[in-house]
């Protein structure tokens, strides 16, 4: 049984102009110890998926209207608020893009970790304090004892993200949701944080849902990847196959946009024409069809569904048969 099994999840928003659907029957699964990357542009539904799992969407405007989110076999959508609080931070933890804004500015780092530990564990303050220091060491925080007494604004970006990760690991979660964990960091720090996440995963055996728009990060960190477009999973499969032989024109387009090093200087950068359609004006048929160079007549009428293709699944009427020439180089980075 998969650790997390999302089945046909459908999430909608009520806006001033009417009801829009942000997620259309999204199905994903993550096994224990596995990393699934959720890839897509801004507005493709990656973060809505993550927030749906933890039930963090604002209740007044957002509603899950269908599907199941099975975590260890139990449907998270059926839990009451108290039970959900017992899951958050305890079994499923989350880290954010911008650690400066995700840490409480008026609380010391150590106290924030201690608080996270004591929310779910009946331990004394001294035990929680010891656990906090151990966690800071585990995330390789330099001089953990001193940093524990610092406020977030006194730390560097990389140290803040380490602190954030320490808080997330406080109760040894089964699943870590990382929402663009390295986007706000500079490139060297980015590599360090990714290596750290990988090492922590090997140590603890937790599963990870990695939300990113950076295919380099996907190549480096994930086992499997799911590509989202306009609220739908359009392609998913093992990372290597997905990145070397994409079957969906959108995935291929994302990859082509990366291959800028092979271009002669001065040539126009490859791009996917057009923009993601707004949720309120989704075209009939495939949402990507208006931007797709491979689209056929059927694409504009009928929404394609996910079907097995090669080692993964793809939702496309005009699958690419030719392997993409792009190969992402995988670089190993030391922690």
């Amino acid at each position: 049984m998969a650790l997390l099994d999302i089945r046909a999840l459908r999430t909608g928003f009520t806006t001033a102009t009417g009801h829009v659907t942000a997620l259309h029957d999204v199905s994903l699964s993550i096994d224990r110890g596995e990393t699934l990357a959720l890839v897509g542009e801004s507005g493709s539904g990656k973060s809505v998926t993550a927030c749906s799992i933890l039930r963090l969407l604002p209740r007044r405007v957002a509603r899950v209207t269908g599907g199941q989110i099975l975590f260890n076999g139990a449907d998270l959508l059926a839990l009451d608020d108290r039970a959900m609080q017992g899951i958050r931070g305890n079994r499923i933890a989350m880290i954010f893009q911008e650690p400066m804004s995700a840490l409480n500015p008026v609380m010391r780092i150590g106290d924030q970790i201690i608080e996270a530990v004591r929310l779910h564990r009946r331990v004394t303050h001294a035990e929680a304090h010891a656990r906090a220091l151990a966690l800071l060491e585990q995330v390789r925080m330099p001089s953990p004892r001193e940093r524990a007494n610092d406020f977030p604004h006194q730390l560097s970006g990389g140290m803040r993200q380490r602190a954030m990760i320490a808080i997330a690991l406080a109760c040894e979660p089964d699943l870590l949701i990382a929402d663009e964990p390295t986007t706000a960091l500079d490139v060297t720090t980015q590599a360090q944080i990714l290596a750290l996440l990988k090492r922590l995963q090997a140590e603890t055996g937790m599963a990870m849902l990695l939300i990113t728009h950076d295919l380099g990060v996907v190549a480096e960190t994930a086992n499997r990847a799911a590509v989202m477009y306009a609220g739908r999973v359009v392609e998913q499969g093992p990372v290597e196959a997905l990145l070397t032989r994409p079957a969906h024109p959108y995935t291929a387009g994302l990859l082509a946009a990366l291959a800028i090093e092979t271009l002669p200087p001065g040539s126009r950068l490859p791009e996917i024409p057009g923009t993601v359609p707004p949720l309120s004006a989704m075209p009939a048929g495939c949402a990507f069809a208006p931007r797709c160079t491979h689209a056929v007549a059927r694409c504009r009428i009928e929404v394609p569904v996910l079907e097995p293709a090669g080692s993964g699944e793809v939702a496309c009427h005009a699958r690419l048969r030719v392997p993409s020439p792009t190969v992402i180089e995988i670089e190993e980075v030391a922690a």
């Binding site: 963090l56 609080q85 958050r88 840490l103």
Partner: protein, 292 residues
């Protein structure tokens, strides 16, 4: 809270105090005046013991006429020094306790409204508006008059008329803070609403509330004196307002009976206003000097 304190200089050495005084001259004047009033409230009644209501000496003694009554006596021969010292205690006590009450009410209403929003917020804000539309002093007079004047009723009356501004301020802070990412992050670690409000949002909302509370103390002291002037003070305690009220008919012959407690009120209210303004300036990023 801790951030606010860390922003103030750790003025432990004379040099650090001097720098602080140079950087915030008006706040320093406020602190000095407030310490003086606190000192009078603490040791005044020890230097000038006795019941301030007692007819201690000859009436209408001008300050300096008799060394035994350095600030003179009123038309009934009550010692003004004893009265002013006792009044300092009453003013500070009522000012601080009623502000604490107003802050508690205001924070509770503002936090709940701002955090939960929607209908709860709308209902609480309508109630707040009702209190804001009624003239504050009139409401305080009515409340004290209904429930016999005593220290407790005066404190409650001032607290009840002073909370709406704090509630509005706290609500505004909560509205902006609740959508900040660290609050979302705190939810992802499994915090309850109460814990989010108390440990995550409120400490971040406190600095402007503290600045406002300091100004509320000043207003509360004024209101207390006004109530006492109208004869709505506790009949068992000597307030500055009571002395002024008692001396108003002798203003032409003996202005000092009204003047001295009046001066005491001016100094105390000024002190709290200066401190409140100082905290406001220290919190205002446009006015604050960088000191790192």
């Amino acid at each position: 809270m801790s951030m606010l304190i860390s922003r103030l200089p750790a003025a432990t050495t004379p040099l650090a105090w001097w720098r602080f005084a140079r950087a915030y001259p008006s706040a320093t004047l406020g602190l000095v005046l407030m310490l003086a009033v606190v000192l009078v409230a603490l040791v005044g009644p020890l230097i000038f013991p006795g019941d301030p209501w007692d007819m201690a000496g000859p009436p209408m003694l001008w300050p300096g006429d008799d060394p035994g009554y350095p600030l003179g006596t009123d038309f009934m021969g009550r010692d003004l020094a004893t009265g002013l010292a006792a009044g300092a205690r009453v003013s500070l006590l009522i000012g601080l306790v009623s502000t604490a009450l107003a802050a508690t009410l205001g924070i509770t209403v503002g936090a709940i409204g701002g955090y939960f929003g929607g209908r709860v917020d709308a209902a609480l804000m309508r109630v707040t508006e009702v209190f804001q539309t009624v003239p504050k002093f009139v409401l305080a007079v009515v409340l004290v008059a209904i429930f016999k004047p005593s220290v407790t009723t005066v404190v409650v009356a001032i607290g009840v008329v002073s909370w709406p501004a704090t509630a509005r301020l706290v609500r505004a802070e909560f509205l902006s803070l609740r959508s900040r990412e660290f609050v979302l992050a705190a939810r992802t670690v499994g915090m309850s609403h109460a814990r989010l409000i108390l440990t995550q949002i409120l400490p971040n909302a406190l600095p402007p509330v503290i600045a406002m509370a300091t100004l509320t103390v000043a207003t509360a002291i004024q209101t207390e004196a006004s109530l006492a002037f109208l004869g709505l003070g506790d009949p068992n305690v000597m307030s500055w307002g009571t002395i002024i009220g008692g001396g108003r008919e002798q203003v032409a012959d003996a202005w000092y009976i009204c003047g001295l407690p009046g001066l005491a009120i001016v100094v105390t209210v000024l002190a709290f206003n200066l401190i409140g303004d100082g905290i406001n300036d220290a919190l205002n990023p446009h006015l604050r000097q960088r000191r790192h």
